[in-house]
Amino acid sequence: MKLSHFFLPHPETHKKAHLLSFKALFVYIAFFVILSLTFRGVNVYKPGVLGVESSVSQQELIRLTNVERQKNGLSPVTEDQRLNAAALAKAQNMFEEDYWAHFSPSGKDPWGFINGAGYKFTYAGENLAKSFYQSDEVVKAWMASRTHKENILNKHYQNIGIAVLEGTLNGEKTTLVVQEFGSPVDVAIAQAPEVQSIQTSAEVTTTESEEIAEASPAIVYSSPEVRAQTLIASEKQTSEDVLSDPYLAVKVAGLSLLFGLFLLIAVDLYIVRRRAIYRVTSSHLPHLALISVSASVLFNLSPGQIL
């Protein structure tokens, strides 16, 4: 078997190159199924080995959030240490209880974390993100989602708190971003708790939350020193570990395969036209078009997720 037959149509029978045969297509499909299953298996049996190494910065996220607000004629939100603490407690709880949601499996809600940090609010909201490489990707993804955008561009919010925390979630090493917004209860409202309750509920309905639970302190917060130690420990652990990025591996493998297939089909089309032969086969151009769309989608996909 000649090597050229793997890449070029047969000179006599005009059959397609071996790398475009049914067998080859089955092998490519099997390869991607096995690759995906392997990564899932590694996440289950060796948690924390695979993941995304992120360079998301808390201060950059606050700055970019305010840039978006100012673009839309809104006043910037100011950083509040209590909301930072609430966001950190939420992120720590997500790793502890191993969930990716606004509400924990044990029933903790975002408003409980905010109240628990000592921030009494009239309006509050929460955005979540994980596995993004850069800060600007996080804010862009939130702005591309209607509900998250509504949170960022909510005129009622005055304060912001963000936590960026690394850990292992569902077996995969990831960087969680928790963004908490709030407007504090003013003195007049604070003296009338029933008013606060109504306003809070009204605002909560505009967030991602599906259920509204009465906010109550639900978690014991560590001191700032302990929190700082947690962050430093997390950073140290990440820099020591050898982290494999499964998304990058799938992306590189996928784009390489699509590029190779594109070339093989294009060469096949050129040779068949040059030889002026008729072959009962599928059309080349739709394949090339589909591969191009698939490659552009794969190129633009991010491992990051928002909630």
Partner: protein, 84 residues
Amino acid sequence: MKKFFKKNLLSNVFLLVSLILIIASFFYQDSNAWQYKIIFLTVVIYLASAILHHHFDKSLTFEVGLEYILIGALAFLVVFGLAI
């Protein structure tokens, strides 16, 4: 030329749709949800236009159909493999 375009009408429509979807993919590059919608829509249109084209052309055989299905599945899997 006119005959070629008439004969390959469905393929040409798919090429045009693909071009629009590639532009859409870059336009909505910050939204993964849109990327998944785009690839799903592309594969569906690709399979439908291919089957109709070969049906009208009277060249729809098992091998031809299977080739479209395999390439469609591959294009789909490569993208969804990223949703690990």
